[in-house]
């Protein structure tokens, strides 16, 4: 049984008061308690950015990698030990800018990973620059004249790239985040949970008030198996148009389920021993 108290380290969170990371952290810990995720069955991988500090405050074994490179590290972990729940914590700069290539290809390959995207449309740790999800005309330290670039929708990109579980939640709703994180992890394949997260210090556009006013929940009329419909919804953004919930879910073999070497047991359960190469050497005579 995982209890909340088991999940904290001696480090205290150093996020700004009011940061969306607090609620994402809370939602994840609640999911750990509900599902029994702990050091015997789960591992966290984080990139670099404010989100990445989560590994210091959460007592589950983790790898904090390089900026943009959390996904390939997580991929290696999953291939080595596919019994682990592998969670990737990443940000919009980390995942979509520096690590865009890995995001696209991990979705294409449908690795059984759960990617939690802390999406605040700003670089926080470097004190406020525009990211790939910042709106057009957005003013920041890197775009004082207003952002001339248009934002990318992580959901559209994920669906187009082949991700098989694509959801969006809002950091102000802890129970929904917990619920979707659990569903994402239970899904076999590449799951992406885009979390709309206010940055109280550097992003004055995407505030709690903005998200509360302009988001709505997808209801039972939304068919999450309809790719075209999901794609269309993922492109919608603006006043009262921001949908939350599971946009798309598809049942498709994940990478790890297709590799014969992984069919019986994880790679780590066959420890490395010297292999006899007599038969292989014959090919070289």
């Amino acid at each position: 049984m995982t209890e909340l108290k088991d999940l904290t380290t001696l480090c205290s969170p150093n996020w700004c008061p009011g940061c969306g990371n607090f609620t994402i952290w809370a939602a994840f810990k609640n999911a750990c308690v509900k599902k029994g995720w702990d050091n015997t069955n789960s591992v966290l991988v984080a990139g670099i950015g404010c989100h990445g500090h989560i590994i210091n405050f959460t007592k589950i074994t983790s790898f904090e990698g390089l900026h943009g490179r959390a996904i390939p590290v997580a991929t290696g972990i999953k291939i080595a030990n596919h019994r682990l729940n592998v969670f990737v914590f990443t940000g919009d700069g980390d995942c979509l800018s520096e690590g865009g290539n890995h995001f696209v290809h991990s979705a294409r390959r449908n690795h059984d990973l759960t990617i939690i995207l802390h999406d605040n449309a700003i670089y926080g740790l470097t004190t406020g620059q525009t990211t790939p999800t910042s709106p057009h005309r957005f003013k920041s330290k890197s775009t004082p004249q207003g952002n001339p670039d248009w934002p990318i929708s992580p959901l559209t990109l994920a669906i187009a790239s082949g991700a098989t579980f694509v959801a969006r939640v809002y950091a102000g709703n802890i129970p929904q985040m917990t619920d979707i994180m659990i569903r994402a992890n239970e899904h076999k394949g590449l799951s992406i949970v885009d979390i709309l997260q206010p940055c109280v210090t550097f992003n004055k556009e995407y505030t709690h008030a903005y998200f509360q006013e302009n988001t709505y929940y997808l209801d039972e009329k939304h068919d999450a198996t309809n790719k075209a419909e999901a794609f269309k919804k993922s492109l919608e953004w603006g006043p009262k148009q921001i949908a939350l919930g599971v946009f798309y879910q598809e049942d498709k073999p994940c990478y790890e389920s297709q590799i014969p070497q992984l069919s019986e047991k994880p790679l780590i359960e066959n420890p490395p021993v010297k292999r006899n190469l007599e038969e292989l050497f014959k090919k070289y005579f």
């Binding site: 210091n56 490179r69 390939p72 290696g76 290809h105 790679l267 780590i268 066959n270 490395p272």
Partner: protein, 572 residues
């Protein structure tokens, strides 16, 4: 005269005419007949249309290098005659397609001509002109007194996985060439391939094969390699045998992903590797240090081709020595090894996995392109003395576990996710559990702990360089990598030259090298790069400045002839 006992065959044609496969088969005929072989291939970065040429050196004694001269040229196109007839000396021979009306005016008088209707026989065997190489192989085997059934067996094995018709057609083509040559060139040109009785069986292996075989032998569990010349064949071999041996090869989207995947897999507990060339290693450098910082073992193979940028994609150089020694920001412990031939590549690959596990840090294998791709004959590789060792590693749930506990050796107990232990493999500076920590005292102790691994490695594992030849020679050659073979071959004709072959680049056996070089009467540094990177390293580590250097950076190997010239001009 260098290479007196070595017979050099050369086969040339367009890319796509099967030069490499025919050449390798010829090398195997020679090896199965009891000879030693060394092959050297030159080709452009193209799939079709460029000029490809492969040299096969055959000797009853060990042969370790390519050669400048040619004794027998097999020309599948006009360009081969144009480019290589100058290498033919009086008494040598050239075999060419008599159907193609090649212009042979350039071939000197005294060179024996062997016109064979290659394309005609190829067509009648049913495979079209693509089989011309096999006809030539058959004819050459006859002319050099080789054994036809041996060649036919090889063809059978080579095409075992294809439609049986392919093997049959190739056998017919080889036989047609063989019979024609026997009938028309009654006197054998030279008994180069006459089978020797009771010979020791030998493998024909290149460095890429050797690295892949070494990795499999060492218990490799995961490899992520993005294709790049000259190491792509490592991934081809690994991909082929993954199901048989139970490891996983994964093709990643780029080199950054390759090394990060390998690090992730290693963090999770499996033996992991990646391989690349200089350009790919540029992309890997950030994760190279990540491996050092998070103390995650990884083996990185770097096949060296000439840079900078795309450079000379299919040629060889030793220009990346300083790069791997210094790549990445800050200091972290790295082990860098450079094999001198495919056998050393095999041994060092196996060792690299143990070293990576023991020191929980990256180990780089720096290999010349010519080692990667030159096939050489060796007695069968012996792995009886090798055992896999994971170092300080536990899969148990450990009380009060600290992943980065301060140890004098620098090496802490490693464990893996899923064991119940909590730790963070942290790219940020961290405390003993791995949690981010920016305190000065912690930084100092963690930095010292990591760097202490090199001191431990120097004491417990680092090998002194090998000194070949008499200890009190007049000339001491210092070199590394692929030059070994050419230097050893050239040295056979001198009794006053020795050679210091350096394989450990970091940690560096400075004391041993200093001891030898201080006593040396005259030192020559031999390297395939512009700036004499090894000479610079020796000066940095020992204070000894080597002023006499033989440097080559045109992508071609240093030939034994060039070593001999250098020695001769020094003796004078």
């Amino acid at each position: 005269m260098v290479n007196q006992n070595i017979f050099t065959l050369k086969i040339g044609g367009q890319a796509g005419q099967g030069i490499k496969s025919a050449g390798l088969m010829l090398a195997k005929v020679a090896t199965r007949s009891g000879y030693y072989t060394y092959t050297y291939t030159e080709y452009p970065s193209l799939i079709r249309g460029g000029h490809n040429v492969m040299q096969i050196n055959v000797s009853s004694e060990e042969v370790t290098a390519p050669s400048k001269k040619t004794d027998f040229l097999i020309a599948l196109n006009q360009q081969t005659i144009n480019l290589h007839s100058g290498e033919l000396i009086a008494g040598s021979g050239v075999l060419f397609d008599s159907e193609k009306s090649f212009d042979i005016a350039k071939v000197e008088k005294g060179v024996n001509l062997y016109p064979v209707p290659l394309s005609k026989f190829a067509n009648s065997a049913g495979g079209g002109e693509l089989l011309s190489n096999t006809v030539a192989l058959g004819a050459a085997t006859a002319i050099l007194d080789g054994n036809l059934s041996m060649l036919k067996n090889l063809i059978n094995e080579e095409f075992a996985n294809k439609d049986p018709k392919v093997a049959t057609m190739n056998q017919q083509a080889a036989e047609a060439g063989f019979n024609f040559a026997q009938e028309n060139f009654a006197e054998n040109f030279k008994k180069t391939l006459t089978p020797i009785e009771n010979n020791i069986p030998k493998m024909v292996v290149n460095g890429n094969d050797a690295v892949a075989l070494g990795a499999i032998a060492a218990g490799l569990q995961f490899a992520a390699i993005y294709p790049m010349s000259p190491i792509s064949n490592i991934l081809h071999v690994l991909a082929s045998y993954q199901e048989k041996y139970g490891y996983v090869y994964k093709q990643p989207e780029d080199e950054i992903s390759a090394i990060n995947m390998a690090i992730g897999a290693s963090f999770a507990g499996v033996r992991s590797m990646t391989a690349t060339s200089g350009g790919g290693f540029c992309l890997m450098t950030e994760a190279y240090g990540l491996s050092g910082m998070t103390e995650t073992p990884i083996v990185i193979v770097l096949g060296m081709r000439p840079g900078p940028a795309t450079g000379f994609p299919t040629w060889s150089e030793q220009g990346d020595l300083r790069f791997v020694l210094h790549a990445h920001q800050g200091d972290f412990p790295r082990i860098v090894l450079a094999p001198g031939d495919a056998k050393e590549a095999f041994d060092l690959t196996m060792q690299a996995f143990n070293l990576a596990d023991k020191y929980q840090t990256p180990v780089v294998l720096l290999i010349d392109k010519n080692i990667c791709e030159d096939d050489q004959s060796f007695p069968v590789f012996n792995i009886s003395s090798y055992e896999t060792s994971r170092g300080k590693f536990s899969s148990q749930n450990l009380p009060d576990y600290k992943r980065f506990s301060l140890e004098d050796s620098g090496i802490s107990m490693r464990t893996i996710p899923g064991t119940g232990n909590f730790f963070v493999a942290n790219s940020d500076e961290h405390d003993e559990q791995g949690l981010s920590n920016e305190e000065a005292a912690n930084r100092n102790s963690q930095m010292k702990k990591r760097m202490n691994k090199l001191t431990t490695c120097t004491k417990e594992d680092m090998k002194s360089p090998q000194l070949f030849g008499p200890p009190d020679a007049d000339i001491t050659i210092v070199s590394w990598g692929n030059n070994k073979g050419s230097i050893l071959q050239a040295m056979k004709q001198y009794n006053n030259v020795n050679f210091l072959h350096i394989t450990w680049l970091n940690p560096f056996p400075a004391e041993a090298i200093k001891n030898i070089l201080t006593k040396a009467k005259h030192i020559i540094d031999v390297e395939c790069n512009f700036s004499g990177q090894m000479a610079g390293l020796i000066r940095e580590k020992t204070g000894i400045e080597i002023t006499d250097k033989l440097l080559k950076y045109d992508g071609r190997p240093i030939f034994p002839e060039e070593i001999a010239e250098k020695i001769n001009s020094t003796i004078k």
